[in-house]
Symmetry: D2
Subunit: 372 residues, 4 copies
């Protein structure tokens, strides 16, 4: 069996490496170029590696760096129509030129000053907000004002009009996550302006969506049936915290319930299907109790994490990083990850796992590991 | 085209009604009988009516009658192994000989005296309990003690061990619903005894299932994936009441959300799928505000209702019945139903709609009507 | 723990068996009766047996008996409006009074004389025809004429107009299967007359449904999407036979593919979902090669089989029966079944497994056994 | 409401456009850069356009150009381990540097000389082959030899070992389609070498997969259940042609069935689900009868077409191109497309619609248009 010599473009076979042959080959490759054709045999390893070789790299941004820059921008740049949001995207160093945290995920710090208002728009891109700290902002999703408070996850599924208003005298900041890179890569994005000021400026404690869908296992009979994304726009910290607390208590009581020893986690799900709350992004909150060490593992999903509470260390492909309040971590596909904490650690996590899972592409190692 | 004369067994055709023919026909029918054969042409109308002709009839049982009888039985009959439960089934007058409320649903009043204990068993049949009043009983489902209190819906999906204990000094009574008739008709039932006393006699305020699954839209990462029936064994009245209240308030505020004017309803659903909480029975709570009148309609699902609060009237195939606290109504397939209330009315409803819906059999009239 | 004495209605407990107590108990039971109430403790074993206790019995009808009776009826009874079909239902001896083969399945011999025409109607009940022998009849389903020939399975999903015409000079007979008992028990049936003569009297070799859906894995783009039942109304013997032959050849060649040694089987499926071709009935063709013995097993599905070709024996709950061309067997839930054949055996099988499977009720033993 | 001036980076607001402010802003942007942060307000239009703005362009490659180049390469480059395949990818001019036809699809001409053998490997990427002309090659998928002939569609779902062998004395060429770009963008790719020569060198007329799955609506009972991609590895031209012919005949006979007047189309589907045959790519064959004109439309799916038979014209965003045998067309998202033909036209089409559909992203205009 003839074996190709990849370095010479496959010309090492007997009788093939004459100068005449090389000249013909060079001519062929020129003609290929002119015709817009690329031989697989010269590119196979790059196109089809033996295992994922992400250009994106594991990366950590310090909250201590991010927050002051966001705050400075508020003094220099107004929020308004056109720019739309005072959101600053975190660009993975492995993806220069694109402000993407991973090849599929966009993560940004959004900052809304006292009494500021971010105008309404809608877009194909699916979004969420995770609130590290503060309160006083309402995000208005298709006319429904949703309070944003510490620890809450707020959803904006694709193509819903939404704007934000800060009704307080203090600024507020949060993590925005969107599938901007995925939608851009697949050329799916539509965008439309809405009103310059949110259409409903009231500030109810509970959104209408929560009033209708906030009871566990309760579905309004008028809204029965699967919806692509969750009709519940707010997942409140009080519930998330209680669920994580319960998992660890059940572990103490000898019952199953947690992901692994000392490691609790909840997934934010769509009550109309039981699947992920959003179509393209998996959102979860993880809690490691003091002293816990997670089992090392990897997944082909890429993810972004933010430290909500506590401190710890994360080891990414062998490199250890300390973690503290607000730090943001980008984790490309097939990165080796493990966590440990002395103090306890609450981590918010978003990944592109739903995309991969629906296409039967998601792999994890070890196989039974939790993908986040 | 020859037309059959049904009364003569199809013998009206020319040349067919001679005495000789009649004799041959009689002989044929005798031979059919001997061979266990039945001609469709003599039974078609009975086997395949133009519209459902249930043997079951619309029927109403008064709580004022049911409760005293249940209480009397407690003085005369102990609860224990063999009989298993002090539950008294409500038999539809149209189904003599079978203690069935409808052809698919069994409904019973269960009564547990002070300090009594109903032993553990498990069965194919799916069950729920709806609590009209009282508290003090824990039902233990696969080892998880679940408090039972006024207005709560408690589930026992098929093949889960379960027993009950009353830890209080007062009796407690509730509505049991099971798919006993459906499982009997299709010959699917298995049954197995468990311990004589519930395996966990603790009396926690929240069951482990509620601790894991009680947050709206929150799924333990360790338990991701569709389950046939709900992992949440208790749907608490506080949540149900709040959801119904919210639907009516939203109507007052000009937003959609309710079934029809003045009529709110929630379905109890399985958070892992968004579908019905139980495989074979649909469970819902309906609220009509004072003065409301429901649109008349019918469905091929059969159902059983119990008045939880308030008073009103129900019209069943034209016959009006008053309704008050605790009354139980059996509604066969294709019964015309409408409700009205001066005082406001809360109704618990169970039906066999999930069976029919999965088999593409369910019909409603008018088409857009809510099936319960 | 007090143990109930079932025979005495639960009255054996200490202090409970006085004459006075017995009198009170008798009064209570009379009052229960009057109120339409039945205590579970007196009926539990009947309502909830330890394992299925079907009233239906395993039963075998000989084709040698069935066919002559069907032929005699053609001389005495015309086919026409009202009686609708010359179909004679096979009544399970365990279900006297109801012409049902099992509690969910109706099986009948239909006989259509030369040039006869069975008028159009439609009904909720789902139907199929399996052709033991002959040809010359077209069944017209929603206006699409479908030829019926030896070995073919023809479908009539619920609520489709259908009639039959025999365009030949010889009679034709076949097995009809319907879910009449299930639809009757659940009160779901609607029925409507159509034209007295089939609306399309042409006799094409292939129906329109086959022309659109007859290519393996090919879906008309205009008809993409799941449909409850198969859009393909005819499953031709040539394809069925080829598939069974291939399975056994693959076994000979050392490849997997068959159910068990010497036992091939195909399921008739809905190309829009991959699930059963019909909503309520599973249809399969099984082939045992000469000398094969099937592994004994049982399932909670009830079924009806018809011998298509070959001879053999079936053991039903220990009783052995010989099988030959055309014989029909009724098999209730949880019947022990095994087959053997010296000559080879082709068996058509229909069961209610789809109903049970969708409700998570189906059990088989051994667990991995094929349910048919 | 302050309005942002996008061109100046949001500095047009009153009081904001002083030199001092500009200096501070410049410093902020430098610090953002250093921190890997990108303000949305400076990039929003690029990241989130009002409608898809693909970099890929509509493009047409002539078979008259492609084939000779592929043939020349066979004289100069052997096939073998390392390069793996003599496949030449078609690079969209709008995506320089990447040999991708669209952002998600790879399309290549593969050429296998007489008696040549392409070694076995497997990869995450899903592949198909569409055969424009010729025969004599067997592709061996997980050990099952599958004949490749004119008009056939052959599948290689992800992670199946596969190799090809040409057992004839003439070369053969075909269109390869893979989701290489999508798998690369999302970092999902794994790759593994198999044997250097296909593991089964027999050349059966029908593959084992076809023998098991080739009957319409027939499922081996041993293989019941949904599979992510089709178990049928070959969709034969005879079936495809017959289905298209039937659709147009049914149109002539006055029955529905075709996509639009004179336009027939079949989708290649997975018989275990009824969905697309492959997880990430939709494959279809379209036929326009002589004289037909397709309704102009667009979809957010990107696609690649190859002319199988006939001639015609395609108008892509207003630019008209003639089409003839073998021509390949790349169509990015949201391209306006219409077709016309004087002679009749058979077109093979592949798109990324399954990815988009599962994520609720797919849009078409007009809404009811067929996405291909």
């Amino acid at each position: 069996m003839t074996t190709l010599d990849q370095t010479s473009g496959g010309a090492a076979a007997s009788g093939f490496d004459t100068p005449e042959h090389q000249a013909k080959l060079a001519a062929l490759y020129r003609d290929f170029d002119a015709a817009g054709m690329t031989p697989l045999w010269r590119t196979r390893e790059g196109l089809m590696p033996f295992a994922p070789e992400p250009r994106a790299v594991p990366h950590l941004w310090r909250w201590a760096d991010l927050y002051p820059l966001a705050a400075r921008s508020a003094e220099l740049v107004p929020v308004g129509r056109g720019g739309e949001r005072r959101a600053i995207g975190l660009g993975n160093p492995g993806l220069p030129g694109d402000p993407y945290a991973t090849p599929t995920l966009w993560a940004a710090i959004q900052y809304l000053g006292p009494r500021e208002n971010a105008p309404e728009h809608r877009h194909t891109q699916t979004a969420f907000r995770f609130v590290l700290e503060g309160e006083g902002v309402w995000t208005v999703v298709d006319g429904d004002p949703v309070a944003m408070r510490r620890g809450d996850l707020l959803l904006t599924p694709g193509w819903r009009f939404h704007g934000h208003q800060n009704v307080s005298d203090v600024p507020m900041t949060w993590l925005d996550g969107l599938d901007i890179p995925f939608v851009a890569t697949t050329d799916q994005g539509f965008f439309e302006f809405g009103p310059d000021v949110v259409r409903d400026t009231t500030t109810p404690a509970r959104s209408r969506g929560e009033r209708l869908w906030g009871g566990p296992g309760l579905t309004p009979v008028s809204a029965v049936g699967a919806q692509p994304s969750s009709p519940l726009m707010a997942y409140r910290w009080a519930h998330t915290d209680a669920a994580l607390t319960a998992q660890l208590e059940l572990e103490d009581e000898g019952h199953p319930g947690v992901v692994e020893a000392g490691h609790a986690a909840v997934r934010f799900t769509n009550p109309t299907t039981g699947g992920d709350a959003l179509t393209t992004m998996r959102t979860e909150m993880h809690r490691l109790r003091a002293g816990a060490v997670s089992r090392p593992g990897r997944t082909t999903a890429s993810s972004v994490w933010q430290v909500f509470e506590g401190t710890g260390t994360v080891v990414l492909n062998g490199a250890e990083h300390s973690l503290t309040h607000g730090d943001v971590v980008a984790i490309p596909s097939w990165t080796d990850v493990s966590l440990r904490t002395h103090t306890g650690l609450d981590l918010f996590a978003v990944s592109d796992a739903p995309i991969l899972e629906r296409l039967s592409l998601l792999r994890t190692h070890p196989a039974e590991q939790v993908e986040s």
